[in-house]
Amino acid sequence: MVQAVEISNYSWKYINTQSPALKDISLTIEEGTFVGVVGPNGSGKTTLALSMDGLIPGQYHGIKQGEVRVFGKEVEEYSGGELQQIVGVVFSDPESQFTAMTVEDEIVFGMENLGLAIPEIRERLDWVVDLTELGDMLDKPPYELSGGQKQRVALAAVLAMTPRIMILDEPTSMLDPISRKRIFEVLEKLRREQSNTIIVIEHSLENLVPLTDRMILLHDGHILLEDEPHAFFKQTEFLLEKNVFPPEATQLFYRLSVDGRYEGQLPLTLESATSLLEGLVKK
């Protein structure tokens, strides 16, 4: 079966750095899964995101080794713009992604680039606006929007191109907690209703982890850990060593299990932690 993303022995070194940003990594991502990528700054997460969209090596100078395949085809073999129809990327800076003068123009831009006709554009616009709740902001210019609203627009603009793979590189790092939640709510809706493959790079784990099917730890250009979330967080000690902090509730139960107070799966959400704690104390 063709995988959504298949990376084999891939290394990438930017032309102006000493050591490669990604060092001989291999990774397979199944279609339809929700993947979380974590790791310290400088570990190669953004490089990985750019590699899966063909922006590396397309827009950057450097040395590539190994292969990056999206739906079976090497990223370099896709003709101009073809890969961008399959893979959508949302970046972390809401400002620099907003290229048009109104919200509607921004969302419609990608669709126009795809050569879609007006009726289809209208239909997708309505769908995406509904999903991201941007209905009353369509003719607002960027300077009237908050960072969180701009990021939702970025998400809508990419979604409107209906990519099979969505990559989000720290989409909420510049947002306040409420805006952050709203972005993840959209992602959750997506996960439920659509069959996209979604890859999210994040530092803020407590919103991300409940949605994921797989977690990947990147560190200094290597993939150090890759597993489904419960197994992933069993390695909390290792994660802490590598400066990745699981959600606080998960950390609590990890410590409890280390102390022998708790046996069982580590909770990944506040809700499950609450009921587990209740159960523990009442015993």
Partner: protein, 287 residues
């Protein structure tokens, strides 16, 4: 209240019923009118008409006050360059000789003609910018099928300009937060500081441009052209209908321009000789 490029216009304004292309046409054509009208009093009348149009469009008249200093200083510069820097011309009529500076009638006359030509041009531009949003410019250009690349570069320039302005405010505050106080310092000092502002603005733009480019490419747009061969749909135009009113207005503007040209070159109505104001002033200054 909707924000336009130079201010705010209430939503009830009649200006919104007009297609952006007509607004742009008005700007481009009417700002040419003064080139064909010589008598200062007629150009002054034209300026008054523009200002009345602004008032009718519900533009806040208070914003016009911002332009008063500029209008005055510009007038002063023109008068000075035409008189003080006018040189010695024995063939002209001398009005007065002040400390070696010869003030000639012809120079004053020419200065007035130029000044009153520029004024309506400026106010036509102000009218346009006060009643149009950035989007209107883009719609106007796309309506006449200007190549997409050009309109897009233009739109990006607008966006970039907006971002730079926002950054500029923050950079100014950051400088003040480190004790930089331009109050009461020399002009040279202030000029030097504006140069210094360039550095962080430049650095910020550089850093952003990488993400900006990536975002563009990720949306399927590369500067070599579009992704697919199909004709590009212009979704933005679906919001703007070119109505009968727009057609009528376009017609009026065109007719006015044609009439202007006809009268200018056939009869002498808009020439200098037809002016009433100029001879009157001549008599006053030269007795």
């Amino acid at each position: 209240m909707n924000k336009t490029m130079l201010g705010y216009v209430p939503t009830e304004s009649p200006i919104y019923a007009i297609h952006p292309l007509v607004k742009l046409l008005f700007l481009l054509v009417v700002s040419l009118f003064p080139m064909f009208i010589t008598p200062p009093e007629l150009n002054f009348l034209l300026m008054a008409v523009i200002i009345i149009l602004m008032w009718a469009s519900r533009v806040s008249m208070r914003t016009l006050r911002i332009y008063i200093p500029m209008v005055i200083s510009m007038g002063s510069i023109i008068i000075i360059s035409y008189t003080v820097l006018g040189g010695v011309h024995p063939e002209f009529d001398l009005i007065v000789n002040v400390l070696g500076v010869r003030i000639y009638w012809e120079r004053i006359r020419d200065a007035l003609v130029v000044y009153f030509r520029i004024l309506p041009m400026i106010f036509t531009m102000v009218f346009f910018l006060s009643t149009s949003r950035e989007r209107d410019l883009i719609v106007a250009m796309r309506s006449v099928r200007i190549p997409f690349v050009i309109t897009y570069v233009f739109a990006m320039a607008l966006r970039a300009a907006g971002m730079v302005l926002e950054d500029f405010q923050i950079v100014r505050q950051a400088e003040r937060a480190r004790g930089f106080d331009p109050a009461g310092k020399s002009l040279l000092y202030k000029i030097r500081t504006y140069v210094m502002y360039m550095i962080p603005l430049f650095a910020l733009s550089l850093r952003r441009s990488e993400e900006f480019t990536n975002a563009l490419v990720a949306r399927g747009y590369a500067f070599t052209g579009q992704v697919s061969k199909a004709a590009r749909a212009d979704f933005i135009l679906t919001h703007y209908q070119f109505t009968a009113l727009d057609a009528v207005l376009t017609g009026l503007i065109a007719i006015a321009f044609v009439l202007l040209l006809i009268f200018r070159y056939s009869s002498g109505i808009f020439s200098l000789e037809a002016s009433v104001f100029i001879p009157w002033l001549h008599d006053i200054l030269l007795g």
